[in-house]
């Protein structure tokens, strides 16, 4: 069931095609063992969301995802009552003539039945637990939502006034990701294990590329990763390419049938790697120099 060491975690994740270094494996292991939420920060495209998916897959747990956005409120995360269906139910009771005064409390009670409850991700995860709850891009949500989340994550229970308290039998594994568009509140951070995911090194990235996109040949993979790593070390790019971009680019090259990285095919597929016009020019020049030697 649960892996009992950091290396076991790494092996499990490796089995799903997610390669992680021992830092990430250690932190993941601790998060599972200490039952603490795992807060992942890092550049976009370093595999924060992918880690959550890999954990869920490796432990055979359902993945419940809560994508945060500006203006998200507790009802979006917890539950709503299905009003139209409640009304239909009421009308049906009326039509069958079952609403006589004595039975009124019962009819009322039947309105707040669990079948009229639409569970949103957090409640869903608590009900289905053991599960993995992924709170994606928490930095996009507002402060108030963070406070709400803090409350849920400290007790793993939710109270619905009409129904009672829903408590997870085993607390779900919680993974939060953030792109650092704003600082999270300390109280929330304190509750979590924190890990900053960096871009992987050359060999690690080649491995990732080979395992995620096995159709790409070994020599092309190495060429692509070498080029990307060199680009990443420059500091004049508006947005340095992440691992996700490396994968995209390699797949694009493969789709065009390229067996080697050359300038012509590289410049045609550059759209998969860089997403700014200013960057495109710089990358073209850099590739020019790189591939000439």
């Amino acid at each position: 069931m649960e892996p009992d060491s950091a290396s076991a975690v790494a092996a499990r994740l490796g089995g799903t095609g997610y390669l992680c270094d021992d830092a990430l494996a250690t932190v993941t292991f601790l998060a599972l063992k200490m039952q603490r939420p795992l807060l992942l920060e890092g550049e976009p495209g370093t595999g924060k969301t992918a880690l959550a998916e890999a954990i869920a897959e490796s432990m055979d747990l359902p993945l419940v995802r809560l994508q945060c956005y500006e203006g998200i409120v507790a009802t979006h995360a917890l539950y709503v009552w299905d009003f139209p269906r409640q009304i239909l139910h009421l009308r049906a009771l009326e039509a069958t003539g079952r609403v006589d005064p004595e039975l009124l409390p019962e009819a009322e009670k039947s309105l707040y039945d669990e079948r009229f409850l639409l569970a949103r991700p957090v409640l869903d995860a608590l009900q289905r637990s053991p599960a993995l709850l992924l709170v994606d891009e928490i930095d996009r949500a507002d402060d108030e939502f963070e406070a709400f989340l803090l409350e849920v994550l400290s007790t793993y229970q939710v109270t619905i006034p009409e129904l009672g308290t829903v408590k997870a039998t085993t607390p779900p594994i919680v993974v939060l990701t953030s792109n650092r568009t704003r600082d999270l509140h300390d109280a929330l951070k304190r509750r979590c294990l924190y890990h900053w995911i960096d871009h992987p090194g050359l060999d690690r990235e080649v491995e990732i590329l080979r395992s995620r996109a096995p159709e790409v040949s070994a020599s092309l993979a190495r060429q692509v990763v070498t080029a990307v790593q060199q680009l990443r070390s420059r500091d004049d790019l508006l947005k340095a390419p992440g691992v996700a971009e490396t994968l995209d680019w390699a797949r694009a090259l493969q789709a065009l049938g390229a067996s080697e990285l050359d300038l012509a095919v590289a410049s045609r597929t550059l759209g998969a790697l860089v997403k700014y016009r200013e960057d495109t020019d710089r990358v073209k020049q850099a590739l020019d120099r790189m591939l000439a030697t």
């Binding site: 250690t26 601790l30 200490m34 568009t181 704003r182 304190r190 924190y194 900053w196």
Partner: protein, 381 residues
Amino acid sequence: MTAVRHEADEILLGFARALRAAGVAVTQDRAQGFVEAVSLLGLDDRRGTYWSGRATLCAGPDDLERYDQVFEAWFNARDGLPRSRPADAATPVVSNFPDEENDLSLDADEGDSDVIRVAASATEILRRRDVASMTSSEKARLNAMFAALRPRVPVRRTARQQSWRRGNVDASRTLRQSLRQLGEPAEIAWRRRGLKPRRVVLLVDVSGSMSGYADALLRLAHRVSTGSMTGHGSTTGRTSVEVFTVGTRLTRVTRAMRLRDPERAIVAAGETVPDWSGGTRLGETLRIFMDRWGARGLARGAVVVVFSDGWERGDPALLGEQMARLQRVAHRVVWVNPHRGKVGYEPVQQGVLAALPHCDDFLAGHSLATFAEVVEVIGRA
């Protein structure tokens, strides 16, 4: 056995304490989490200790560098442990000397504003006086007058709707109301798109050439951070004002600026900012701001105010490029220049020339009266 364990706890908690002394905000529960994590991995696992400490004691990339240093010092050898990326490697700390010549010409400029004698109240005079030319007692009086500024929060429409007297039909509220009456059709509820406070980002130049204004500008920033009122009844949520200082490096002083008391806020900011009265590399620091904060979302749709005189020591072309980037992301870019309001001022500094095409507003900011204008422009944006 127990003696050994006791000792290990002591070492670990001592490490947490050393880390706190080094400036990482380690709390009691964090330290306990650390001990728990290490005991799970085993005490002999050096790398495990390193990673579990990093996960339990650190709260952000800024902490990682300090953590590494303290870890190295406390547990002696690193044994080939990976080194965290320095939090701000791209920012060499270069403290240029303040530009004496420019400073002198500035003083000469202000000579005549000293001799203004108008038959108005002392307060009114202070309101219009250049803050750089004030004596310390005048400054003390002026500081109290900052409280009279009434910053308003700029607002924007949200995607979410809120109930209102008219607008679109709010189907679910209407249904809910009718449900309350056992399904009888009830009054129709309406809604419209809500209003939310827009984010405000203030970038304050604290380089040598701005040293006469930095204090007053930070006070203004503090006033905007803490005193902003929502002028609209239907706005929800707190205002978020982010304050950064720029110079040779970029420093986030938002936390300091949230302290209620202005004096304490200024002192706290002074402790955070390492490059008071240094040189100006505006383009470079702006690039770091855009990379680390702005483009990720902090400046997106925000009102960004840059307080600077535009005396750029670096490459003006870089400044222009970064300002263009900023303008593409932000809702409105306002440039506040303390020298703008002076007689005979022409925007000739290379930095200003490069930045000006990418600003929506170009305002003066050398006296309380002009600060009030700035506050007004922010509120209307």
